[in-house]
Each structure stands twice: as C-alpha cells, then as structure tokens.
C-alpha cells in the first residue's frame, strides 16, 4: 500500500504483512487437511475454521496498527482513502453479485473470496487516488 519510498510505519506494515502471508497459506492447508483426515464436527470444526482465519485477522490488525502508527497525516489520509475505496468497491460488487445469484442464476461465490476481492479493489483504487494528488 505504499505510494513512494516507505517510512518507518510503512516498513513495519510490510514486515507484519510478510509474516502473516506464509501462516495464511500454511494454516489454510493444515485446516483443510485436518478436516479431511479427522472429519471434525461441531465445535472442533468451528475451531479449525477460526484457526485458519487467524492470520487474516492478524493482517487486518496490522493494517489498523499502521493507521495508528503513521505519523505522516497525508499518507494516513491516502491509506484511509484506499481502504474506503476497497470497502465501497467490495460492497458494490457483492451487492450486484448477490442479485445475480438470486435473479440470473450466477454461480454461488464462496465467502472466502470476499477478502482477496476487497484487496483487489484496494489495489485498483491506489493509482486512481494517487493521480488526484500529483
């Protein structure tokens, strides 16, 4: 999410995000394998599902920590705009897709895709928002 050379808060954000990514992949595979092998049910399956999501929650926490730690108010404002644009894009896309599922027999979208779609909209918004301040 960095537009120019990263400052200290942005470097911390990158480090924290880099830490969560391998755990996201690892826990997703471990959770899927555990459910497949041991056929967990009830609270055990819920626990495994939450465990698999923990690195994603850490990722979100890292972004909030960055917003709290960023001392450059313009950079903070830019990043809040990226995140808001991502939220708006996601809400719009999911609303449209919901109606498409209901009325046009579009294939069901698994909820796990909401998270990467959100970041896709954030990424798309960045050059557009940056262009406003050139």
């Amino acid at each position: 999410m960095q537009a120019c050379s990263p400052n200290a808060a942005q470097r911390r954000l990158s480090r924290r995000i880099a830490l969560t990514i391998p755990f996201s992949v690892l826990l997703a595979f471990v959770a899927a394998a555990a459910i497949h092998l041991w056929k967990f049910q009830g609270i055990a399956s819920w626990s495994v599902a939450v465990l698999a999501a923990l690195p994603i929650l850490a990722f979100i926490a890292a972004v909030f920590a960055y917003l709290a730690e960023e001392k450059d108010e313009f950079q903070r404002m830019l990043h809040v705009q990226y995140l808001l644009a991502g939220t708006g894009g996601l809400l719009a896309a999911m609303t449209i897709w919901g109606y498409l599922e209901d009325f046009a027999h579009a294939p069901h979208l698994h909820a796990i895709w909401i998270y990467p779609i959100y970041w896709l909209f954030v990424a798309i918004s960045m050059p557009v928002i940056n262009a406003r301040y050139r």
């Binding site: 050379s5 400052n7 450059d72 108010e73 313009f74 404002m77 301040y133 050139r134």
Partner: protein, 67 residues
C-alpha cells in the same frame, strides 16, 4: 482548500520538496500535496511549518481558496 506560499518560501531557502519533507519528517508526496493546495495540513503540521520558516502561520497560509 487554503492558498499557501510554500513554493516561494522553499525557493528562497533553495530547498527542494525532498529537503522540506525531510525537515518536516513527512513524505515528499505530502509536501507536494500541501504545496499544490490539494491537501490542507492539520494545525500541528501548520505550526511545524511556521516554526521551520520562522513565520506566523498566516504568512504561510491564507484563507483565499485555491481553484
């Protein structure tokens, strides 16, 4: 958006945007956004600018809107 004299004040001191950004501990992109009137700084940042240029805030920023 507020009008400001940052570009002139910077030129008088022969500072680049990067020089000013380093002194303010913000990004060059931030200095550019303030200087071009696309971003109004907060009061604390405006005071930091005033201290840096040794001028009252009203001699750096004016109420006249940039269009």
């Amino acid at each position: 958006m507020m009008k400001n004299r940052l570009k002139v004040l910077r030129a008088e001191r022969d500072w680049s945007q990067a020089d000013l950004a380093e002194r303010l501990e913000v990004s060059r992109q931030s200095v550019n956004a303030i200087e071009t009137g696309k971003f109004d700084p907060s009061l604390p940042l405006a005071f930091r600018l005033a201290r840096l240029f040794e001028l009252p805030i009203e001699q750096i920023f004016s109420e006249e809107e940039l269009r």
